[in-house]
């Protein structure tokens, strides 16, 4: 019987397999950041162990770092200690680090692909759940805990039970003005936040094939939001074109050998998945969340649902609680919801393509006077590229703030947070209570919706905007 893509990648990394025990998997790339690594390094130190493969390890600073005044010492003492600890650990254990101020600094899941380190058929781990992002290249990539970080540092392996496999096939093409973010939010709303539990999911079908690498990363990034262990997409010409020429991509004969191997990384015709889902891309429309988990979403054209709309009693209770927290009334058209802050950034939608999409909407327009727009590039490279293209000028002329790279308001560990009761439209991935600041209310949206929302001050899509030059 044939094998699925994820089974092929898995099998290629088994160091040791014993019946009744988890497989020991080899890890090709271990990404590290300041928040989940300090105790792992300290554990090594206490046990007198080295990092086995510093050459397969990469560290960057992202979760805690300020997005203004990044050339000055970090004001918050806990954040500063974590960042300084990472620097000391990286130096002591010989790990390559891209610190604040370095041109390769940025969100760990933006930096890996951008350097060309993320490649098809790899196993990639990081002490961060959105490691699933890297699956867009046909890699098995997943988040791990601090004890596991220590395990990988010491052994470059991880004992792992083999997950089940699922296929999500998206037929047809996404309509004009509908993005990968809308697609993944739609999928999560359909399946619930536990729909992917226990699975490595392969996204396939025409609509997926038509996506750019950056859009594929948005999809795989949010695999974790519907509970999947990891998500991945078979590599193809789009993948190879994206990687070729990047600093850490294979060169010359190595490139040819790599591509020859990558082309074998597809699910065999006769392979069987443990579960299959099918979606029609043509039915997807701009999609936003109204609640406090990523599964509580609806098409932008809909209204805030009522708890009674849900058959399942648990969903009903969850909806009731969410509406109370979000300060929303059932029946309110989503388009009427007023937004205080628009956040464009994060490992979901903080790449150059996302900024281009948002800038195209904002060009020649103004941010609503009651709304604040915060644009935070996913990495320094993205920031510099956007500046080369003049996108920063568009954001600033529209009335937005143009910031330095980092996780920023995605999780509010740095000073970029919402005030209690404040409402955001955010291109990030989590709308949990308090995620962007205590009492903050988050609506997850695509970059296109975020930009249009900034202009109108209420949840909107670009189609709702008057043409540039027309009186608003």
């Amino acid at each position: 019987m044939g094998r699925t893509l994820s089974e092929k990648v898995w099998d290629e990394h088994v160091v040791r397999s014993t019946p009744g025990e988890p497989d020991l998997l080899y890890i090709d790339l271990h990404l590290i950041h300041e928040v989940t690594s300090p105790q792992a390094f300290d554990g090594l130190r206490l046990a007198g162990r080295p990092v086995r493969r510093p050459d397969l390890t990469l560290a960057t600073e992202d979760h805690n770092v300020p997005t203004v005044d990044w050339d000055k010492p970090i004001a918050d003492p806990v954040s500063r200690t974590q960042v300084e600890t990472l620097r000391k650990n990286a130096a002591e254990f010989g790990v390559r680090l891209h610190p604040l101020g370095d041109e390769n600094q940025g969100i760990v899941h933006v930096v890996g692909p951008q350097l060309g380190l993320t490649q098809p058929g790899m196993t990639i781990v990081c002490g961060d759940s959105h490691t699933s992002t890297h699956g867009a290249f046909g890699a098995i990539a997943f988040g791990i805990g601090t004890s596991e970080v220590e395990h990988v540092l010491a052994t470059q392996t991880l004992p792992q039970a083999k997950p089940k496999t699922m296929a999500v096939t998206v037929n047809g093409s996404l309509p004009e003005g509908v993005s990968a973010k809308d697609l993944i939010l739609t999928l999560i709303a359909k399946t619930g936040t536990g729909g992917g539990q226990g699975y490595i999911v392969e996204y396939r079908g025409q609509a997926i094939r038509e996506l750019s690498m950056e859009a594929r990363m948005t999809i795989c990034n949010m695999s974790i939001e519907w509970g999947a262990k990891a998500g991945l997409i078979a590599p193809d010409q789009t993948t190879f074109d994206y990687i070729e020429g990047r600093p850490e991509a294979p060169k010359g004969a190595d490139w040819d050998a790599a591509v020859a191997h990558w082309k074998t990384l597809v699910t065999d015709e006769d392979a069987v998945f443990d579960r299959e889902l099918v979606l029609d891309a043509a039915e997807v429309t701009p999609f936003v969340t109204w609640g406090t988990n990523p599964g509580q979403g609806a098409p932008l054209g809909a209204a805030v649902p009522a708890p009674e709309d849900f058959d399942n009693p648990q969903d009903r209770v969850a909806a009731e609680k969410a509406l109370a927290y979000m300060g929303l009334e059932a029946g309110t058209p989503l388009r009427d919801i007023k937004v205080d802050t628009v956040f464009i950034g994060s490992c979901t939608n903080g790449r150059i393509e996302d900024l281009r999409a948002a800038a195209a909407v904002l060009e020649g327009r103004k941010v609503d006077e009651h709304t604040r727009l915060l644009v935070v590039p996913g990495s320094v490279k993205v920031r510099l590229q956007a500046q080369d293209e003049g996108l920063d000028v568009i954001f600033k002329e529209a009335g937005g703030e143009w910031r330095g790279a980092g996780c920023s308001m995605c999780l509010g560990m740095n000073p970029d947070t919402l005030e209690p009761g404040e409402r955001s439209a955010s291109t990030s991935n989590r709308n949990f209570e308090g995620r962007q600041g205590k009492g903050g209310r988050t609506h997850l949206v695509s970059p296109l919706v975020a930009a249009a929302t900034a202009v109108r001050g209420t949840l909107s899509s670009p189609a709702d905007l008057a043409p540039v030059g027309a009186d608003a």
Binding site: D42, H151, A154
Partner: protein
């Protein structure tokens, strides 16, 4: 992790039951970025009390904690185990342990010896009569004894944890015992795979 076969050290009577992990180390002490130094938060709420057993100089070199039932219940924080180890404890003896705490202890190399309630009482009596007295915990023989034979009993521990402690193996140690498999695998990795250095 060091191999643990047998340990003899000063016994410390902690005559309380239901000492949960918040009492072992309160949350405010968890901000550290290291896995060491947590001894300052160990039993923090009681350390200001001059009557508290650890404030008695006789017990300052204590390594064997003899605690009442339900020791280590509550949150999953691994820091509770680190705090006890950082302070110098090698063994905790009790008649009941919190599950997660006991699991964490086994991973980190702290021996949790499960005994009958009357053994705890006998050890407390022995320490009352002999403050600063020594207790021997033999993992190989699974016995708890005192030098004068006041207490001589057995304790329980699951075979897997016992084996790991005897061999001095943590999870990483177990994986490293397959080092040759890892090295063989590394030898077969294609040269074009990316490296960061």
């Amino acid at each position: 992790m060091d191999k643990f076969t047998s340990h003899t050290g000063v016994g410390v009577p902690l005559k309380r039951s239901n000492v949960d992990t918040d009492q072992i180390i309160p949350a405010v002490y968890l901000k550290r970025v290291t896995r060491s130094g947590f001894e300052d938060g160990l039993f923090a709420a009681w350390r200001n009390d001059p009557e508290f057993v650890l404030n008695n100089p006789i017990y300052s070199a204590g390594t064997v904690l003899v605690a009442g039932p339900d020791f280590g219940t509550g949150s999953s924080r691994e820091h509770a185990v680190w705090a006890l180890q950082n302070y110098g404890f090698k063994v905790v003896i009790s008649s009941r342990f919190g599950d997660i705490f006991r699991g964490n202890s086994g991973k980190a190399g702290l021996l949790t010896a499960l005994v009958d309630e009357k053994v705890v009482q006998a050890l407390w009596d022995y320490l009352d009569d002999n403050p600063g007295g020594q207790i021997t915990v033999d993992l190989d023989a699974k016995t708890v004894t005192t030098p004068g034979g006041e207490v001589a009993d057995s304790f329980d521990i699951d075979d897997y944890t016992r084996w790991r402690l005897l061999e001095g193996l943590d999870d990483i140690g177990i994986t490293l015992s397959h080092e040759s498999d890892i090295a063989t695998y590394e030898g077969s990795r294609p040269a074009w795979k990316p490296a960061t250095l």
